[in-house]
């Protein structure tokens, strides 16, 4: 049934292109219906998944027999978590782009195509299929940013597309090489991820194949120093696209790094473990430091994404159960929180004030003018700081515990990153929403009526995401019961393979 998340999205995209003329209303509702149906399917699928039952096949049939390629969709707890995330992010993204009236048909068609690709990656258990979906997601991103974006949109879009494509090129090299080595070794042509994971690749091979594939995927996850696409891309993107970019597309990279690079090449991971962790920690600290000095509201959030994704990568590099499950939870958590932050910045604030310069927002007294936006941003910001009670805390806590166990020095760095996170979020919060009106301007207070009020779709979207992060923060078992039983055997496999 979960396969319908993919089909629905693509069918929806197709249906949108067939819609008559530029009927924005119809396009929106169709997109919302499709994304909503996808989210419902994802949630029902997650609820119906018996906890701890390992890998459950959704669809499996031969596709290209000549190369042993199969159309093989399956889920375990990790992928289900991310599928649910995608569903939530997709629905709220559409709610936050309710006001798109420039070429709405195409906008939502690209949007749904992207969503379909993302679902596909999370559900694929055939390496080739996974790669196909991974690349399908690239082009819609480009168009979404280049057409509907702002601030150097064409540059940002092209940079994102090329980075993604270079990343997938690295992955492709690794995939082809791994396939050939495995085929030579076993005599069977197969792209089945499980089968490939069982192949004992020569250690020497793993030592160079792992960084290749890992970096290829991690580029999309914002691994320092390959992160530079992220801030420009996020900033240039329209709200819904930046929500998706930070919310789920960056997760594609992390997911691929876990599911492909790490699982296939555990010895390689073992060999490069410290270096990976080092880059992750640098990313955490660097992202936070840069976010601290940004002048553009959205750049702050963009760099914060780099910093938070560093936690995911650090968690993955710990190679212990608690760290890896923390990383997976952090993927979910950051997806929700970043989506929320971008929603506030892009839709609630920018669409109304038409500026993102903190120095100009300071003058607008936004906590009065847009109280709902202010409250939402406070909640999202607090969640993003990793304060307890929100999903970010549980996730970062686990990552930190894992990091303490694996490399204590880096755990200190990550702790520093949390602190810096508090600092830049406070700074932004203060300047964007709660700056005192400057004494010099004797103008009457900016009247709240100046801004169009926060619309119902925005409210629903914000509540949806806040609810998700709170629910997971207060009752992490919701997801941990899904994640942990899948992570445990995976990590055990990794540790065994590393020896």
């Amino acid at each position: 049934m979960l396969a319908w998340t993919i089909y629905l999205s693509f069918l929806g995209a197709g249906a949108l292109t067939l819609l008559p003329k530029e009927n924005a209303r119809a396009a929106r509702w169709v997109a919302l219906a499709v994304a909503g149906a996808g989210a419902v399917v994802a949630l029902v699928g997650a609820a119906a998944y018996p906890a701890g039952s390992g890998l459950v096949t959704v669809v499996r049939q031969s596709w290209v027999p000549a190369l042993g390629i199969e159309y093989y969709l399956a889920v375990d707890g990790i992928s289900l978590t991310l599928v649910v995330l995608t569903g939530l992010a997709a629905v709220s993204g559409i709610l936050f782009s309710w006001n798109v009236d420039q070429r709405p048909k195409e906008f939502f068609a690209f949007y749904l195509t992207l969503i379909g690709g993302v679902y596909g990656v999370f559900l694929s258990f055939d390496l080739f299929l996974l790669f196909v979906f991974y690349e399908i997601a690239i082009i819609p991103k480009y168009f979404l940013i280049a057409i509907w974006g702002s601030t150097r949109k064409e540059y940002g879009a092209m940079k994102l597309a090329l980075y993604s494509f270079v990343g997938s090129a690295l992955v492709l090299i690794g995939v082809v090489a791994a396939f050939i080595v495995a085929r030579t070794h076993t005599g069977v042509a197969s792209f089945d991820l499980e089968a490939l994971a069982a192949v004992p690749f020569p250690v020497q091979f793993q030592c160079w194949a792992f960084p290749l594939v890992f970096i290829g995927f991690a580029i999309l996850a914002g691994l320092w120093p390959f992160h530079t696409w992220a801030p420009t891309g996020h900033v240039a993107a329209p709200t819904a696209a930046s929500m998706l970019l930070a919310g789920v597309v960056m997760k594609l990279g992390a997911y691929g790094a876990l599911r492909v690079a790490m699982v296939l090449f555990p010895a390689g991971l073992h060999f490069w473990q410290r270096e990976v962790a080092l880059l992750a920690v640098i990313g955490i600290v660097y992202g936070a430091l840069v976010a601290l000095v940004q002048k553009d509201f959205k750049f702050v959030i963009g760099y914060s994404s780099v910093s938070h994704m560093g936690f995911v990568l650090l968690g993955l590099a710990t190679l212990n159960e608690i760290g890896v499950s923390g990383a997976v939870l952090q993927m979910f958590s950051h997806g929700i929180i970043a989506g929320l932050l971008f929603g506030v910045v892009g839709r609630m604030v920018y669409d109304r004030t038409h500026t993102r310069e903190l120095s100009q927002l300071e003058l607008m007294n936004l906590s009065r003018g847009l109280p709902f936006a202010a409250v939402t941003f406070v909640v999202a910001g607090v969640a993003s700081m990793g304060l307890p009670g929100f999903s970010g805390f549980v996730a970062e806590l686990q990552v930190l515990i894992g990091a303490w166990g694996a490399f204590p020095g880096f755990a200190l760095g990550a702790g520093l990153g949390i602190l810096l996170g508090v600092a830049y979020l406070l700074r932004t919060l203060q300047r964007a929403f709660f700056a005192d009106a400057p004494v010099s301007s004797r103008l009457p207070k900016a009247a709240p009526a100046e801004f169009e009020p926060i619309s119902m779709p925005e409210r629903i979207g914000a509540v949806l995401l806040v609810g998700a992060t709170l629910a997971v923060g207060l009752y992490p078992r919701l997801l941990l019961d899904l994640i942990v039983p899948s992570v445990v055997p995976l990590v055990q496999g990794l540790q065994k393979g590393a020896l």
Partner: protein, 503 residues
Amino acid sequence: MSTVDYLELLKLAAPETIVVAAAVAVLFVDLVIMRDEPMRHRLLIGGAVTGLGCLVALLWLAKVPVHAAVLGGVLVVDPLTQWVKGIVLVLTLCTAALSLHAKFTEHVGEYFTLVLLATCGMMFLVSSDDLLTIFVSLELTSLCLYILTAFSKRDRSSAEAGLKYFLFGGMAAAFTLYGLSLVYGLAGTTNLRAAAAALAGQGLTPLLAVALIMVVIGFGFKVAAVPFHLWAPDAYQGAPTPAAALIASGSKVASFFVLAKVLMLGFAGVEGSGAWRQFSAGWAPLLATLAVVSMLLGNLAALAQRRVKRLLAYSAIAHAGYLLLGLLALANSDGRPEALAALVYYLATYGLTTVGAFGVLGVLERVNGSDRLEDFIGLSRRAPGLALCLVVFLLSLAGIPPLAGFFGKFYVFTAVVGAEPARLGLLWLVALAIALSAVSLYYYLQVLKRAYVVAPVAGADRIVLTWEDRLAVGGLALAVVLLGVFPSLLLSPLGAAIQVAGY
């Protein structure tokens, strides 16, 4: 020499015969019957006859499977050649469909005749295992294409392109002939397999090396590999668009296929190796070098182009590089069936995609009168369907799944790496190719950016498409998508054919 059963020969060569008959028919119909009709009718009827010829030949290919070689390899008909011929015919059919709005000529009959004759040459080329027929059919094809390139008689650049193409082509022919004659001199036979058998065990003698280099140079001109590519941008630019499409697609398919045969069969035993740090002399390292420079130069030069036809020309050079990689995979006899299947799949899908891209270009050229990048601005508003097809073609060329171009590349790369599975010696070539295809996305996106992102200037009205355009371009786009999503549609029969053909 055995006696020839002409009836049998006719049966084996029936598709070619049908094409020739169609060429005569189109000439006759146009010059005799349709002489005074309006251009539109003449084009329609000419195109219809051409298409009919191709269709009948295709049907024959599909319905009458044969497997035989006559006259010691002068004409070899096996399932694989039948498939390649089929592909060539389909490409010709599409070219014909794109020609229905030609404004570059009044000589409709001659035009279609030349197209059909070129096709006939290509078909013979595919079918020959013999040096002599290879050369003759190569010349037949080439001569027709020279004329087609210069067919737009009112256009100076067309004439210039024709001349350039002709001069380069003539030189290439000389090289080829010289190389082939050396082979004949060394082996004493014109049959490829026999020549290889005769030369077996000698290794790469200096004379054979010269022959090899000459042959590769000659074919290098044909397939526009660097450094023998200089004619290509000008020819693509100057030739009438349908002619350029044919040069870029059908001719390329046939040339690559025959080059594969010549190297694989005729120079068996002197493959050498292009593996990393394990070079050994032979045609494999030669091809590796050509492939590397072609990919590099093609992709990098394409970045700087402002005219889409030239851009496609450089992209074609880059693709020639990828295809040369595919040829390289043939050097190892273990993975040969796979490599051959990959090569033919790539050729077929590349041909379809290129014809499609030229089709879109043709429509735009008709409306705007030129092919500058700026002319693509606002295409998605002016003709959404056409823009979508352009997306499909260009992204397929860039190698984005789920389009055919992606799978083609993937399969070729797998085959190349699989040709040296033990030490992954050829991975460096594949890595380079993959990296450069990442570069290629940039220039394809430059076109798509204009089509989708840049706002159209006011007053740019919708482009009206005729049903032929819709059918041809739409059908090609659909084929590219379908072959990408279900590669087995082509791969399974190809695999079977290769097995039967016994490579």
